[in-house]
Protein backbone atom coordinates (compact mmCIF):
# COMPACT_ATOMS: atom_id res chain seq x y z
CA UNK A 1 0.00 0.00 0.00
CA UNK A 2 1.19 3.47 -0.85
CA UNK A 3 1.07 6.12 1.84
CA UNK A 4 1.07 9.87 1.71
CA UNK A 5 2.34 12.05 4.44
CA UNK A 6 -0.03 14.79 5.47
CA UNK A 7 1.04 16.75 8.46
CA UNK A 8 1.63 14.29 11.26
CA UNK A 9 -0.77 11.62 10.15
CA UNK A 10 -0.26 8.95 7.56
CA UNK A 11 -3.13 8.48 5.20
CA UNK A 12 -3.89 5.98 2.51
CA UNK A 13 -3.60 7.69 -0.85
CA UNK A 14 -6.72 9.72 -1.54
CA UNK A 15 -5.03 12.21 -3.85
CA UNK A 16 -6.60 13.02 -7.18
CA UNK A 17 -5.64 15.34 -10.01
CA UNK A 18 -7.99 17.74 -11.69
CA UNK A 19 -5.68 18.57 -14.55
CA UNK A 20 -2.81 20.50 -13.06
CA UNK A 21 -4.61 20.90 -9.77
CA UNK A 22 -3.75 18.25 -7.21
CA UNK A 23 -6.25 17.64 -4.42
CA UNK A 24 -5.39 15.70 -1.29
CA UNK A 25 -8.74 13.95 -1.59
CA UNK A 26 -11.66 14.00 -4.04
CA UNK A 27 -14.18 15.74 -1.78
CA UNK A 28 -15.20 19.35 -2.46
CA UNK A 29 -18.16 21.33 -1.26
CA UNK A 30 -20.53 22.54 -3.97
CA UNK A 31 -21.11 26.18 -4.73
CA UNK A 32 -24.05 27.80 -2.97
CA UNK A 33 -24.33 25.10 -0.36
CA UNK A 34 -21.34 25.93 1.78
CA UNK A 35 -21.48 29.71 2.03
CA UNK A 36 -17.95 31.06 2.12
CA UNK A 37 -16.79 28.06 4.22
CA UNK A 38 -16.48 30.01 7.45
CA UNK A 39 -20.11 29.20 8.30
CA UNK A 40 -19.00 25.59 8.85
CA UNK A 41 -15.83 26.15 10.84
CA UNK A 42 -17.35 25.13 14.17
CA UNK A 43 -19.12 22.11 12.82
CA UNK A 44 -16.34 20.37 10.95
CA UNK A 45 -12.65 20.40 10.27
CA UNK A 46 -12.38 22.44 7.10
CA UNK A 47 -8.81 21.29 6.58
CA UNK A 48 -9.99 17.81 5.76
CA UNK A 49 -11.64 18.99 2.54
CA UNK A 50 -10.14 18.33 -0.87
CA UNK A 51 -11.24 21.79 -1.90
CA UNK A 52 -13.87 24.33 -1.09
CA UNK A 53 -16.04 25.96 -3.77
CA UNK A 54 -17.63 29.19 -2.70
CA UNK A 55 -21.02 30.66 -3.46
CA UNK A 56 -21.30 31.97 -7.02
CA UNK A 57 -19.81 35.45 -7.47
CA UNK A 58 -20.92 38.07 -9.97
CA UNK A 59 -19.35 41.36 -10.97
CA UNK A 60 -21.77 43.52 -8.98
CA UNK A 61 -23.47 42.43 -5.76
CA UNK A 62 -26.86 40.78 -6.26
CA UNK A 63 -29.63 40.77 -3.73
CA UNK A 64 -31.35 37.68 -5.09
CA UNK A 65 -34.99 36.68 -5.33
CA UNK A 66 -37.81 37.54 -2.96
CA UNK A 67 -38.93 34.86 -0.49
CA UNK A 68 -39.99 32.07 -0.40
CA UNK A 69 -36.75 30.89 -1.91
CA UNK A 70 -36.73 27.25 -0.91
CA UNK A 71 -39.20 24.42 -0.74
CA UNK A 72 -38.76 20.82 0.18
CA UNK A 73 -39.79 18.13 -2.31
CA UNK A 74 -39.73 14.33 -2.20
CA UNK A 75 -36.13 13.45 -1.29
CA UNK A 76 -35.04 16.81 -2.61
CA UNK A 77 -35.42 20.55 -2.48
CA UNK A 78 -36.02 23.40 -4.87
CA UNK A 79 -34.11 26.63 -4.51
CA UNK A 80 -34.53 29.97 -6.18
CA UNK A 81 -31.92 31.98 -4.31
CA UNK A 82 -31.45 34.13 -7.36
CA UNK A 83 -27.68 34.13 -7.20
CA UNK A 84 -27.52 36.45 -4.21
CA UNK A 85 -23.88 37.32 -3.59
CA UNK A 86 -21.66 40.11 -2.36
CA UNK A 87 -20.05 40.81 -5.74
CA UNK A 88 -16.46 40.23 -6.70
CA UNK A 89 -14.97 43.30 -4.95
CA UNK A 90 -16.44 42.60 -1.54
CA UNK A 91 -15.72 38.91 -2.02
CA UNK A 92 -12.05 39.64 -2.45
CA UNK A 93 -11.96 42.13 0.38
CA UNK A 94 -14.20 40.43 2.93
CA UNK A 95 -14.18 36.74 2.22
CA UNK A 96 -10.83 35.88 0.67
CA UNK A 97 -8.76 36.73 3.74
CA UNK A 98 -10.36 33.96 5.76
CA UNK A 99 -10.23 31.56 2.83
CA UNK A 100 -6.54 32.31 2.25
CA UNK A 101 -5.89 31.28 5.82
CA UNK A 102 -7.30 27.81 5.19
CA UNK A 103 -4.79 25.24 4.09
CA UNK A 104 -7.05 24.01 1.30
CA UNK A 105 -7.57 24.92 -2.34
CA UNK A 106 -10.28 27.51 -2.84
CA UNK A 107 -12.26 27.38 -6.06
CA UNK A 108 -14.31 30.43 -6.96
CA UNK A 109 -17.61 29.85 -8.73
CA UNK A 110 -18.43 32.70 -11.11
CA UNK A 111 -21.52 33.74 -12.99
CA UNK A 112 -22.61 36.48 -15.35
CA UNK A 113 -25.26 37.93 -17.62
CA UNK A 114 -22.98 38.23 -20.60
CA UNK A 115 -19.72 36.87 -21.89
CA UNK A 116 -18.13 40.20 -21.08
CA UNK A 117 -19.19 39.93 -17.48
CA UNK A 118 -17.70 36.45 -17.13
CA UNK A 119 -14.52 37.78 -18.61
CA UNK A 120 -14.33 40.86 -16.40
CA UNK A 121 -14.85 38.91 -13.24
CA UNK A 122 -12.17 36.43 -14.26
CA UNK A 123 -9.80 39.30 -14.87
CA UNK A 124 -10.58 40.74 -11.49
CA UNK A 125 -9.92 37.40 -9.77
CA UNK A 126 -6.72 36.84 -11.70
CA UNK A 127 -3.74 37.20 -9.49
CA UNK A 128 -5.74 37.15 -6.26
CA UNK A 129 -3.74 35.00 -3.91
CA UNK A 130 -5.20 31.72 -2.77
CA UNK A 131 -7.53 30.97 -5.65
CA UNK A 132 -6.75 27.48 -6.93
CA UNK A 133 -9.24 27.41 -9.77
CA UNK A 134 -12.32 29.04 -11.22
CA UNK A 135 -15.58 27.18 -11.66
CA UNK A 136 -17.78 28.71 -14.33
CA UNK A 137 -21.50 28.42 -13.70
CA UNK A 138 -23.01 28.46 -17.18
CA UNK A 139 -26.57 27.76 -16.05
CA UNK A 140 -27.24 31.50 -15.96
CA UNK A 141 -29.41 33.26 -18.51
CA UNK A 142 -27.65 35.10 -21.30
CA UNK A 143 -29.35 38.47 -21.13
CA UNK A 144 -28.29 39.39 -24.66
CA UNK A 145 -29.84 36.19 -26.03
CA UNK A 146 -33.26 36.66 -24.48
CA UNK A 147 -32.41 34.87 -21.30
CA UNK A 148 -31.52 31.46 -22.76
CA UNK A 149 -29.05 29.85 -20.38
CA UNK A 150 -25.44 29.81 -21.64
CA UNK A 151 -25.21 26.18 -20.65
CA UNK A 152 -28.02 25.02 -22.92
CA UNK A 153 -26.40 25.97 -26.23
CA UNK A 154 -23.12 24.39 -27.20
CA UNK A 155 -21.79 27.45 -29.00
CA UNK A 156 -22.57 29.80 -26.10
CA UNK A 157 -21.09 27.36 -23.58
CA UNK A 158 -17.95 27.20 -25.65
CA UNK A 159 -17.76 30.96 -26.05
CA UNK A 160 -18.01 31.57 -22.31
CA UNK A 161 -15.33 28.98 -21.69
CA UNK A 162 -12.99 30.57 -24.23
CA UNK A 163 -13.55 34.01 -22.78
CA UNK A 164 -12.81 32.89 -19.24
CA UNK A 165 -9.81 30.83 -20.28
CA UNK A 166 -8.33 33.83 -22.05
CA UNK A 167 -8.22 35.82 -18.82
CA UNK A 168 -7.70 33.16 -16.20
CA UNK A 169 -4.39 32.59 -14.50
CA UNK A 170 -5.68 29.41 -12.85
CA UNK A 171 -7.34 26.22 -14.15
CA UNK A 172 -10.93 26.60 -15.34
CA UNK A 173 -13.62 24.11 -14.41
CA UNK A 174 -16.89 24.52 -16.29
CA UNK A 175 -20.07 23.52 -14.48
CA UNK A 176 -22.63 22.01 -16.79
CA UNK A 177 -26.38 22.41 -16.73
CA UNK A 178 -28.36 19.15 -16.79
CA UNK A 179 -31.32 20.80 -18.48
CA UNK A 180 -30.19 19.82 -21.95
CA UNK A 181 -30.90 17.16 -24.53
CA UNK A 182 -27.31 16.06 -24.89
CA UNK A 183 -24.98 16.69 -21.98
CA UNK A 184 -22.07 15.01 -23.76
CA UNK A 185 -22.31 17.56 -26.56
CA UNK A 186 -22.10 20.37 -24.00
CA UNK A 187 -19.09 18.77 -22.37
CA UNK A 188 -17.32 18.43 -25.68
CA UNK A 189 -18.10 22.05 -26.51
CA UNK A 190 -16.50 23.38 -23.34
CA UNK A 191 -13.59 20.99 -23.77
CA UNK A 192 -13.11 22.52 -27.21
CA UNK A 193 -13.33 25.92 -25.58
CA UNK A 194 -10.33 25.02 -23.45
CA UNK A 195 -11.93 23.96 -20.17
CA UNK A 196 -9.48 22.17 -17.87
CA UNK A 197 -12.27 20.13 -16.33
CA UNK A 198 -16.06 19.87 -16.20
CA UNK A 199 -18.26 19.58 -13.14
CA UNK A 200 -21.84 18.33 -13.25
CA UNK A 201 -24.68 18.48 -12.55
CA UNK A 202 -26.10 21.80 -11.59
CA UNK A 203 -29.76 21.67 -10.50
CA UNK A 204 -32.64 20.39 -12.62
CA UNK A 205 -35.30 23.00 -13.21
CA UNK A 206 -38.45 22.25 -11.23
CA UNK A 207 -41.53 23.79 -9.70
CA UNK A 208 -43.83 23.35 -6.74
CA UNK A 209 -47.40 24.54 -6.29
CA UNK A 210 -49.43 25.28 -3.20
CA UNK A 211 -52.87 23.89 -3.84
CA UNK A 212 -54.59 25.91 -1.14
CA UNK A 213 -53.44 29.34 -2.31
CA UNK A 214 -53.20 28.25 -5.98
CA UNK A 215 -49.80 29.87 -6.19
CA UNK A 216 -46.29 28.64 -6.94
CA UNK A 217 -44.48 27.83 -3.71
CA UNK A 218 -41.44 29.79 -4.86
CA UNK A 219 -41.75 33.52 -5.43
CA UNK A 220 -39.63 32.97 -8.54
CA UNK A 221 -42.12 30.31 -9.79
CA UNK A 222 -39.39 27.90 -10.90
CA UNK A 223 -36.28 26.78 -9.05
CA UNK A 224 -33.42 24.31 -9.06
CA UNK A 225 -33.97 20.76 -7.85
CA UNK A 226 -31.17 19.20 -5.81
CA UNK A 227 -30.61 16.40 -3.34
CA UNK A 228 -30.94 12.59 -3.42
CA UNK A 229 -33.90 12.77 -5.83
CA UNK A 230 -31.60 13.83 -8.69
CA UNK A 231 -28.77 11.41 -8.04
CA UNK A 232 -29.76 8.88 -10.73
CA UNK A 233 -29.84 11.61 -13.38
CA UNK A 234 -26.51 13.03 -12.21
CA UNK A 235 -24.83 9.64 -12.23
CA UNK A 236 -26.04 8.93 -15.75
CA UNK A 237 -24.79 12.29 -17.01
CA UNK A 238 -21.40 11.89 -15.36
CA UNK A 239 -21.10 8.48 -16.98
CA UNK A 240 -21.99 9.89 -20.41
CA UNK A 241 -19.68 12.89 -20.09
CA UNK A 242 -16.73 10.86 -18.82
CA UNK A 243 -16.97 8.76 -21.96
CA UNK A 244 -17.23 11.83 -24.18
CA UNK A 245 -14.33 13.99 -23.03
CA UNK A 246 -10.75 13.48 -22.00
CA UNK A 247 -10.54 16.25 -19.39
CA UNK A 248 -11.32 15.34 -15.76
CA UNK A 249 -14.95 15.17 -14.70
CA UNK A 250 -16.25 16.20 -11.29
CA UNK A 251 -19.47 14.53 -10.14
CA UNK A 252 -22.24 16.42 -8.34
CA UNK A 253 -25.83 15.60 -7.48
CA UNK A 254 -27.46 14.10 -4.42
CA UNK A 255 -24.28 12.76 -2.87
CA UNK A 256 -24.69 12.24 0.85
CA UNK A 257 -22.50 9.26 1.70
CA UNK A 258 -19.17 7.68 0.89
CA UNK A 259 -20.97 5.08 -1.20
CA UNK A 260 -22.65 7.76 -3.29
CA UNK A 261 -19.33 9.53 -3.84
CA UNK A 262 -17.57 6.34 -4.88
CA UNK A 263 -20.37 5.45 -7.28
CA UNK A 264 -19.73 8.76 -9.07
CA UNK A 265 -16.04 7.92 -9.23
CA UNK A 266 -16.80 4.50 -10.73
CA UNK A 267 -18.93 6.31 -13.32
CA UNK A 268 -15.87 8.33 -14.30
CA UNK A 269 -15.60 11.25 -11.89
CA UNK A 270 -12.12 12.18 -10.69
CA UNK A 271 -13.63 14.04 -7.75
CA UNK A 272 -17.01 14.95 -6.34
CA UNK A 273 -18.85 17.92 -4.90
CA UNK A 274 -21.23 17.72 -1.96
CA UNK A 275 -24.17 20.10 -2.10
CA UNK A 276 -27.53 19.83 -0.39
CA UNK A 277 -26.20 17.19 2.02
CA UNK A 278 -24.22 19.94 3.79
CA UNK A 279 -27.50 21.34 5.07
CA UNK A 280 -28.58 18.06 6.58
CA UNK A 281 -25.25 17.03 8.03
CA UNK A 282 -22.82 19.96 8.15
CA UNK A 283 -19.89 17.62 8.55
CA UNK A 284 -20.92 15.25 5.78
CA UNK A 285 -17.92 16.13 3.62
CA UNK A 286 -15.50 15.28 6.39
CA UNK A 287 -17.42 12.06 7.03
CA UNK A 288 -17.09 11.15 3.37
CA UNK A 289 -13.34 11.80 3.41
CA UNK A 290 -13.11 9.48 6.40
CA UNK A 291 -15.28 6.92 4.67
CA UNK A 292 -13.00 6.97 1.64
CA UNK A 293 -10.02 6.59 3.92
CA UNK A 294 -11.54 3.43 5.39
CA UNK A 295 -12.67 2.18 2.01
CA UNK A 296 -9.21 2.39 0.51
CA UNK A 297 -7.74 0.50 3.47
CA UNK A 298 -10.50 -2.11 3.69
CA UNK A 299 -10.41 -2.80 -0.03
CA UNK A 300 -6.66 -2.76 -0.15
CA UNK A 301 -6.48 -0.18 -2.91
CA UNK A 302 -3.14 1.41 -3.68
CA UNK A 303 -4.99 4.65 -4.37
CA UNK A 304 -8.53 5.93 -4.57
CA UNK A 305 -7.70 6.72 -8.18
CA UNK A 306 -8.14 3.04 -8.98
CA UNK A 307 -11.87 3.61 -8.78
CA UNK A 308 -12.09 6.40 -11.36
CA UNK A 309 -14.05 5.06 -14.30
CA UNK A 310 -13.68 1.51 -13.01
CA UNK A 311 -17.31 0.65 -13.68
CA UNK A 312 -17.57 -2.70 -15.40
CA UNK A 313 -20.05 -2.58 -18.22
CA UNK A 314 -20.37 -5.77 -20.20
Amino acid sequence: MEFVRNGDEIFPDLRVNIGSLELKNPVMTASGTFGYAREFENLMNLHRLGAVIVKGISLAPRSGNPPPRIVETACGMLNAIGLQNVGVERFIKEKMVYLQGLQIPVIVNILGDSIDEYQEITERLSGVKGIAAIEVNISCPNVKKGGVAFGTQAHMAKAVTEAVKMKSSVPVMVKLSPNVTDIAEMARAVEDGGADSVSLINTLIGMAIDLESRRPKLANVIGGLSGPAIKPVALRMVYQVAKAVSIPVIGIGGIDSTEDALEFMLAGASAVQIGTANFINPRVSEDIVEGMHRYVIDHNLSSIRELIGALEVK
Binding site: G32, F40, L43, G64, I70, F279
Partner: protein, 262 residues
Protein backbone atom coordinates in the same frame (compact mmCIF):
# COMPACT_ATOMS: atom_id res chain seq x y z
CA UNK B 1 -20.35 31.90 18.81
CA UNK B 2 -19.60 28.21 18.66
CA UNK B 3 -21.98 25.59 17.32
CA UNK B 4 -22.05 21.89 17.91
CA UNK B 5 -23.57 18.88 16.25
CA UNK B 6 -24.67 16.25 18.73
CA UNK B 7 -26.45 12.93 18.80
CA UNK B 8 -28.81 13.81 21.60
CA UNK B 9 -30.64 11.21 23.61
CA UNK B 10 -34.30 11.88 24.31
CA UNK B 11 -34.41 11.76 28.09
CA UNK B 12 -38.01 12.82 28.51
CA UNK B 13 -41.05 12.86 26.30
CA UNK B 14 -44.04 14.94 27.41
CA UNK B 15 -47.31 15.06 25.53
CA UNK B 16 -48.58 18.41 26.77
CA UNK B 17 -51.78 18.28 24.80
CA UNK B 18 -53.18 16.39 21.85
CA UNK B 19 -50.64 17.77 19.42
CA UNK B 20 -48.12 19.63 21.54
CA UNK B 21 -45.02 17.78 22.61
CA UNK B 22 -42.07 18.73 24.77
CA UNK B 23 -38.84 16.84 24.27
CA UNK B 24 -35.96 16.92 26.71
CA UNK B 25 -32.66 16.08 25.08
CA UNK B 26 -29.31 15.35 26.59
CA UNK B 27 -27.20 17.69 24.53
CA UNK B 28 -24.62 19.18 26.88
CA UNK B 29 -22.52 21.23 24.46
CA UNK B 30 -25.45 22.91 22.80
CA UNK B 31 -27.32 23.41 26.08
CA UNK B 32 -24.34 25.16 27.62
CA UNK B 33 -23.90 27.51 24.66
CA UNK B 34 -27.50 28.52 24.04
CA UNK B 35 -28.81 32.01 24.70
CA UNK B 36 -32.52 32.86 24.86
CA UNK B 37 -34.14 33.12 21.44
CA UNK B 38 -31.62 30.93 19.69
CA UNK B 39 -32.68 27.80 17.88
CA UNK B 40 -31.48 24.35 16.88
CA UNK B 41 -31.85 22.30 13.69
CA UNK B 42 -33.22 18.80 14.20
CA UNK B 43 -33.47 15.80 11.89
CA UNK B 44 -36.97 14.48 12.48
CA UNK B 45 -36.55 11.01 10.99
CA UNK B 46 -33.76 8.83 9.74
CA UNK B 47 -34.47 8.58 6.05
CA UNK B 48 -34.10 10.93 3.12
CA UNK B 49 -37.71 12.02 3.22
CA UNK B 50 -38.42 14.52 4.62
CA UNK B 51 -34.96 15.61 3.61
CA UNK B 52 -34.32 18.79 5.55
CA UNK B 53 -33.87 19.43 9.23
CA UNK B 54 -36.50 21.42 11.07
CA UNK B 55 -35.78 24.53 13.14
CA UNK B 56 -36.95 24.72 16.75
CA UNK B 57 -36.38 27.40 19.34
CA UNK B 58 -34.64 26.27 22.46
CA UNK B 59 -37.35 26.19 25.09
CA UNK B 60 -35.21 25.60 28.15
CA UNK B 61 -31.72 24.48 29.10
CA UNK B 62 -30.41 23.09 32.35
CA UNK B 63 -26.97 23.18 33.84
CA UNK B 64 -26.79 19.39 33.75
CA UNK B 65 -26.69 19.35 29.98
CA UNK B 66 -30.31 19.11 29.01
CA UNK B 67 -32.12 21.11 26.41
CA UNK B 68 -35.84 21.23 25.74
CA UNK B 69 -37.87 21.95 22.67
CA UNK B 70 -41.59 22.49 22.62
CA UNK B 71 -43.41 21.92 19.37
CA UNK B 72 -46.72 21.41 17.72
CA UNK B 73 -47.44 18.70 15.17
CA UNK B 74 -48.20 20.57 11.95
CA UNK B 75 -46.77 18.33 9.22
CA UNK B 76 -44.67 15.33 8.42
CA UNK B 77 -41.50 16.32 10.22
CA UNK B 78 -43.14 17.25 13.50
CA UNK B 79 -45.33 14.16 13.23
CA UNK B 80 -42.26 11.94 13.00
CA UNK B 81 -40.60 13.79 15.84
CA UNK B 82 -43.69 13.29 17.97
CA UNK B 83 -43.37 9.53 17.46
CA UNK B 84 -39.80 9.29 18.71
CA UNK B 85 -39.39 7.56 22.03
CA UNK B 86 -37.46 8.19 25.20
CA UNK B 87 -34.02 6.67 24.92
CA UNK B 88 -33.77 7.21 21.17
CA UNK B 89 -31.14 9.54 19.75
CA UNK B 90 -31.75 12.41 17.42
CA UNK B 91 -29.29 14.58 15.57
CA UNK B 92 -29.25 18.21 16.65
CA UNK B 93 -27.06 21.14 15.80
CA UNK B 94 -26.90 24.59 17.23
CA UNK B 95 -27.23 26.96 18.90
CA UNK B 96 -28.05 29.11 15.90
CA UNK B 97 -29.08 32.65 15.20
CA UNK B 98 -29.22 35.82 17.23
CA UNK B 99 -31.47 35.63 20.24
CA UNK B 100 -33.17 38.26 22.35
CA UNK B 101 -31.06 41.17 23.56
CA UNK B 102 -31.89 41.39 27.22
CA UNK B 103 -31.96 44.95 28.48
CA UNK B 104 -30.90 44.41 32.07
CA UNK B 105 -31.87 47.78 33.34
CA UNK B 106 -35.28 48.03 31.76
CA UNK B 107 -38.60 46.47 32.69
CA UNK B 108 -39.38 43.41 30.57
CA UNK B 109 -42.69 42.41 29.06
CA UNK B 110 -42.74 38.94 27.50
CA UNK B 111 -45.66 38.23 25.19
CA UNK B 112 -46.08 34.70 23.85
CA UNK B 113 -48.87 33.21 21.81
CA UNK B 114 -49.36 29.51 21.06
CA UNK B 115 -46.11 27.81 20.19
CA UNK B 116 -44.45 31.21 20.32
CA UNK B 117 -44.28 30.58 24.02
CA UNK B 118 -41.46 28.11 23.37
CA UNK B 119 -38.44 30.45 23.42
CA UNK B 120 -39.82 32.62 26.20
CA UNK B 121 -39.20 30.11 28.98
CA UNK B 122 -35.43 30.26 28.60
CA UNK B 123 -35.74 34.02 28.22
CA UNK B 124 -37.73 34.29 31.44
CA UNK B 125 -35.13 32.25 33.27
CA UNK B 126 -32.30 34.40 31.97
CA UNK B 127 -34.13 37.59 32.85
CA UNK B 128 -34.82 36.35 36.35
CA UNK B 129 -31.13 35.58 36.78
CA UNK B 130 -29.62 38.60 35.09
CA UNK B 131 -31.82 41.34 36.42
CA UNK B 132 -31.68 42.70 39.98
CA UNK B 133 -35.29 43.71 39.99
CA UNK B 134 -38.06 41.86 38.17
CA UNK B 135 -40.92 43.44 40.04
CA UNK B 136 -41.92 45.57 37.07
CA UNK B 137 -41.64 42.62 34.66
CA UNK B 138 -44.60 40.76 33.28
CA UNK B 139 -45.13 37.67 31.21
CA UNK B 140 -48.28 37.42 29.10
CA UNK B 141 -49.09 34.03 27.65
CA UNK B 142 -51.91 33.19 25.29
CA UNK B 143 -53.33 30.07 23.70
CA UNK B 144 -56.47 28.52 22.27
CA UNK B 145 -57.54 26.94 25.53
CA UNK B 146 -56.40 25.94 29.00
CA UNK B 147 -55.39 22.56 27.59
CA UNK B 148 -52.79 24.08 25.37
CA UNK B 149 -50.99 26.24 27.91
CA UNK B 150 -51.83 25.15 31.44
CA UNK B 151 -48.67 23.08 31.90
CA UNK B 152 -46.58 25.93 30.52
CA UNK B 153 -48.06 28.60 32.76
CA UNK B 154 -46.93 26.57 35.74
CA UNK B 155 -43.38 26.46 34.43
CA UNK B 156 -43.26 30.22 33.95
CA UNK B 157 -44.42 30.87 37.48
CA UNK B 158 -41.24 29.45 39.00
CA UNK B 159 -39.26 32.60 38.20
CA UNK B 160 -41.22 34.91 40.47
CA UNK B 161 -42.23 37.13 37.58
CA UNK B 162 -45.88 38.11 37.25
CA UNK B 163 -47.67 35.84 34.75
CA UNK B 164 -50.89 36.85 32.98
CA UNK B 165 -52.86 34.50 30.78
CA UNK B 166 -55.36 34.79 27.97
CA UNK B 167 -57.19 32.05 26.10
CA UNK B 168 -59.34 32.26 23.00
CA UNK B 169 -62.10 30.27 24.68
CA UNK B 170 -61.76 31.77 28.15
CA UNK B 171 -60.94 28.42 29.73
CA UNK B 172 -57.94 29.96 31.49
CA UNK B 173 -57.26 33.58 32.38
CA UNK B 174 -58.61 36.40 30.25
CA UNK B 175 -61.16 35.44 27.61
CA UNK B 176 -59.55 36.91 24.50
CA UNK B 177 -56.17 37.79 23.07
CA UNK B 178 -52.81 38.46 24.70
CA UNK B 179 -52.94 41.85 23.07
CA UNK B 180 -56.07 42.70 25.08
CA UNK B 181 -54.16 41.85 28.23
CA UNK B 182 -51.18 43.80 27.03
CA UNK B 183 -53.30 46.87 26.35
CA UNK B 184 -54.82 46.68 29.79
CA UNK B 185 -51.54 46.22 31.57
CA UNK B 186 -49.71 49.31 32.76
CA UNK B 187 -46.23 49.04 31.29
CA UNK B 188 -43.41 51.39 32.29
CA UNK B 189 -42.43 53.79 29.51
CA UNK B 190 -39.01 52.25 29.14
CA UNK B 191 -40.33 48.66 29.05
CA UNK B 192 -38.88 46.32 26.45
CA UNK B 193 -41.34 43.94 24.86
CA UNK B 194 -40.03 40.51 23.86
CA UNK B 195 -42.49 38.58 21.78
CA UNK B 196 -42.99 35.41 19.81
CA UNK B 197 -46.12 33.91 18.32
CA UNK B 198 -48.27 33.84 15.21
CA UNK B 199 -47.46 36.60 12.75
CA UNK B 200 -50.87 38.22 13.25
CA UNK B 201 -50.31 38.41 16.97
CA UNK B 202 -46.79 39.76 16.67
CA UNK B 203 -47.95 42.45 14.32
CA UNK B 204 -50.63 43.48 16.80
CA UNK B 205 -48.03 43.52 19.59
CA UNK B 206 -45.72 45.59 17.43
CA UNK B 207 -48.50 48.08 16.74
CA UNK B 208 -49.28 48.47 20.42
CA UNK B 209 -45.58 49.04 21.08
CA UNK B 210 -45.41 51.62 18.33
CA UNK B 211 -48.28 53.50 19.91
CA UNK B 212 -46.88 53.22 23.40
CA UNK B 213 -43.37 54.00 22.18
CA UNK B 214 -41.91 50.77 23.49
CA UNK B 215 -38.96 48.83 22.10
CA UNK B 216 -40.19 45.55 20.64
CA UNK B 217 -38.13 42.45 19.83
CA UNK B 218 -39.89 39.80 17.75
CA UNK B 219 -38.82 36.27 16.94
CA UNK B 220 -39.93 35.35 13.44
CA UNK B 221 -40.02 32.20 11.32
CA UNK B 222 -39.08 31.29 7.79
CA UNK B 223 -38.61 28.10 5.86
CA UNK B 224 -34.99 27.06 6.34
CA UNK B 225 -32.72 24.60 4.61
CA UNK B 226 -29.45 25.04 6.53
CA UNK B 227 -30.14 27.28 9.53
CA UNK B 228 -26.59 28.63 9.44
CA UNK B 229 -26.24 31.13 6.65
CA UNK B 230 -25.06 28.72 3.97
CA UNK B 231 -28.08 28.41 1.69
CA UNK B 232 -29.38 32.00 1.73
CA UNK B 233 -32.88 30.57 1.63
CA UNK B 234 -34.47 32.15 4.68
CA UNK B 235 -34.84 35.74 3.55
CA UNK B 236 -37.36 38.27 4.81
CA UNK B 237 -37.91 41.83 3.70
CA UNK B 238 -36.87 44.71 5.88
CA UNK B 239 -38.91 47.86 6.18
CA UNK B 240 -36.75 49.47 3.48
CA UNK B 241 -37.03 46.43 1.18
CA UNK B 242 -33.62 44.97 1.76
CA UNK B 243 -33.24 41.30 2.63
CA UNK B 244 -32.27 39.85 5.97
CA UNK B 245 -31.67 36.19 6.72
CA UNK B 246 -33.73 34.84 9.55
CA UNK B 247 -31.14 32.24 10.59
CA UNK B 248 -28.22 34.64 10.72
CA UNK B 249 -29.62 38.11 11.35
CA UNK B 250 -32.48 36.72 13.45
CA UNK B 251 -34.68 34.96 14.33
CA UNK B 252 -35.04 37.88 16.77
CA UNK B 253 -35.34 41.31 15.17
CA UNK B 254 -36.43 44.74 16.23
CA UNK B 255 -40.04 44.72 15.13
CA UNK B 256 -39.74 48.10 13.46
CA UNK B 257 -36.88 47.00 11.20
CA UNK B 258 -39.06 44.49 9.39
CA UNK B 259 -41.68 44.81 6.70
CA UNK B 260 -45.04 43.57 7.95
CA UNK B 261 -47.43 42.57 5.23
CA UNK B 262 -50.30 40.37 6.20
Amino acid sequence: MTQYQEKAKITRFEQLSENIVRLTLYSPDIAAATKPGQFVMIKAGKGKDPLLRRPFSVHQTTSDGHLQILFKVVGRGTDMLARRKEGEEISVFGPLGKGYKIEKSKPACLVGGGLGIAPLLLLAKSISRMKMDTSKDVIILGGRSADEIKALVKDFKQFGIKVLVATDDGSLGHHGFVTDVMKNTRLADDSVVYTCGPEMMMMAVKNICAIKGLQCQVSIESVMACGMGACLGCTKHTKDNRYVHVCLDGPVFNAEDLKWNL
